[in-house]
Structure formats: C-alpha cells, structure tokens
C-alpha cells in the first residue's frame, strides 16, 4: 500500500538516510507543487514556498505520528505555507483578481484552443475558479493524484472530489469559450 511505502521511507529518513527522504518527497512532489500552484497560481514565489514546505517536512518528520496519511500531512503543510505567502503578497503586490483581469483579452476563435495560447489562458481561467475546485483540479492533473487520494488529502468525500473536478472543468470550458468568442464582453470577477 502507498501508505506502507511512505512509512518505510519515513523510518529510513529518520535514521538519516537521505535517499529515503528523496524518494519520500519524490512520491509527493507533484501534489505539493500542485497545491501551491492551486493557491498562488503561476508565480516564481511558488518555488520558494515549496522549498520552505520541504524544509518544514524534513524538520517536522520526527514529530509525524502517522495518525493521518503522510500525503494529508504534506497537503496541509503546503496549503498553510501557500496561504501564508498569499497573505504576505496581498500587502506587497497586485491582487490576484487584478492579474486575472489584466490577462490577454482577445484571441481569434480559430486559435483559441492552440496549446500555447490555451495554456496561457488556462492560467488566467484557473485563477478565476473557486479555491476548492482549483485545488482539486491541480491535484488531479498537475499532481497526478487519483480521486481517492485527493479525497484523503483534502479530507472530503469522494463524491465531492468528483463534483469539484467536473464543475471545475465545466467552469474552465465556459470561461475559455466566453473569452474566445468575438465581440462578447468579458465577465468580470470569478466564475461561480
């Protein structure tokens, strides 16, 4: 079981085995990065936050009691660190809402789904989703987690995870289609 592998790697890491810690982090790296991206969006700051998350995990590993899954613990640390960074940023830089409104405004319908442009527009569209929908989507795709794993990490029912992901994708499709349509006003604010 994945949890058993984690526990073995944790035990070895606590004995000072650096390779075990590398393997342990390697198993959760995508998810940790996805959580941070889900909260902070596409910013250089995310990598600094991820560094802090891993330092916290390394320091906190002796106190990890295994009452929750390691993946849940990583999720909580990553989420807290990212939220703290977002709070700091709120006082220092442009709010995320303004960044979203400043995203490219026009694209011809023919090119709307071109991968590069779609990628750029995707970032702006992702930022307009509810945080829970965005986190579930990032964990599913960027973090490559199964629905069950996402449910455990976010500590929500499996059905809720499916709803978040389906609704998140439907919202993304709607936002992207609306922005690709010529002559139609852009909706301001977040999609609901």
């Amino acid at each position: 079981m994945p949890g058993d592998i984690d526990h073995e790697l944790i035990a070895k890491s606590l004995q000072g085995n650096e390779k075990a810690f590398r393997d342990l982090i390697g198993r959760h790296h995508g998810a940790a990065y996805a959580v941070i991206r889900g909260i902070l969006g596409d910013s250089d700051e995310g990598e600094d936050v991820l560094q802090q998350v891993y330092i916290k995990i390394h320091r906190g590993l002796p106190s990890f009691r295994g009452e929750a899954r390691f993946s849940t613990w990583v999720y909580q640390i990553a989420r807290n660190e990212a939220l703290n960074a977002a709070k700091r940023r709120r006082f220092e830089t442009t709010p995320i809402e303004d960044v979203v409104l400043a995203a490219p405004e026009t694209t011809s319908p023919e090119r709307a789904y071109g991968q590069r442009e779609l990628g750029e527009r995707m970032e702006a569209a992702m930022a307009r989703l509810d945080e829970s929908h965005r986190l579930a989507l990032e964990l599913r795709y960027m973090g490559d987690r199964s629905y069950h794993e996402i449910a455990e990490m976010m500590q929500i029912p499996l059905g809720t995870v499916k709803t978040y992901i389906h609704r998140g994708k439907a919202q993304l499709k709607e936002i992207l289609e609306r922005e690709a349509a010529p002559g139609r006003p852009h909706e301001e604010g977040r999609a609901t």
Binding site: I25, Y33, Y54, I55, L118
Partner: protein, 180 residues
C-alpha cells in the same frame, strides 16, 4: 440526461474515466445530438491542456539540495563553538576529575608508604606532646591522631573523599557518554 449530467459525462468521457456502459450511453447521445460533439471537442482540448500541466512540475532534486543544506546548517557541528555555560560545565567536570586522580594517587602512595607515614606522624604528634595519643600504626589512626582523637574528623574525611570520587566519576562518565 439533463444538461449538467451531459456536461459531466462528456467531461469524464474525454478524460477516459467512464465505464463501458457509460461510454455507450454517451456515444448514443452523441449520435442522437450532433451538437454535443462540439462540446466534447472542447472538453477533449481542455483535457489535453490540463494533462500537459504535469510537464510544468519542476524536478524535486533542486529543492532537496536546499533542504539538506538547511538541515546541515541547523545541525550541531561535531566541534561546536562552546558557549560560556558549556565552558563552565566542562571546567566543573575537569576539576573534580583531576581531584579524583590526585586522591587516588595519594591513597595509593599512603598505602605503599604506610609504615613510614605512620612513624612520621607518630614522631610529629610526640613532639607536640599531644595527650591520650592513640597508636598511629596506620593511615586511619594517623588521621585520628592528627585530629586530636576526634573520630568525627575521620568520618568527614572519608565521606568527603568518597563523595568526591563518586561525583567525579559520574561527571566523567556523563562527559564520555555525551561526547561519544
């Protein structure tokens, strides 16, 4: 199928998450309602873009180098710079240790030269013409003799030496354990 269920089914179809029966249901709906194909195309493009986000995850190794560097920086050095308290503790450990070895050496010398020591003490006490002089045939008697026959002095000396030895050996042991 209502519109939300159709959307959910098309999204899951594009993601390859449906059972065979559900896929057949969607394909039947697509055959019946060609307008759904445009929506499916949009979900398929969205799925590809979302999956491609995995490529944006940077390798973990770069972050781990920083983690291990931070851990090493935070770990105590094998030869730490010693604080004032630590230096005092070391001195406190060292002084009793030296005293212990000095006591043991003195005791050994007193045992080896016990006869000569006893006669020396006897001569000294005789010169002082001390009253009720006990027979100073051994170190114990000599101490009692020097103390003027007071046995409590002997008890204090032995108790002090014993306590000093026990304390010193404990401190030395602790020091070895701590540094070992």
């Amino acid at each position: 199928m209502n519109s939300e269920r159709i959307e959910a089914m098309l999204s899951a179809y594009a993601a390859g998450e449906l059972t065979a029966a559900e896929r057949a249901e969607v394909e039947a709906a697509l055959a019946r309602l060609p307008a759904l194909r445009e929506s499916l195309a949009a979900f398929t493009a969205l799925e590809e873009t979302l999956v491609s986000r995995r490529e944006q995850v940077p390798p973990a190794e770069g972050f781990l180098r920083g983690v291990f560097a931070a851990a090493r920086a935070a770990a105590p050095s094998p030869h730490p710079s010693r604080g004032r308290l630590r230096r005092w503790l070391d001195a406190a450990t060292g002084v009793p240790a030296v005293a212990t070895y000095a006591c043991l050496a003195t005791a050994l010398a007193a045992f080896v030269y016990r006869d000569a020591l006893a006669s020396l003490i006897a001569r000294l006490t005789a010169q002082r013409q001390m009253p009720s002089m006990p027979d100073a045939s051994g170190v114990t008697d000599a101490i009692v003799a020097v103390a003027g026959g007071e046995m409590w002095v002997l008890a204090v000396v032995y108790a002090g030496v014993t306590a000093l030895i026990v304390l010193s050996l404990s401190l030395v042991t602790m020091r070895f354990v701590r540094e070992g």
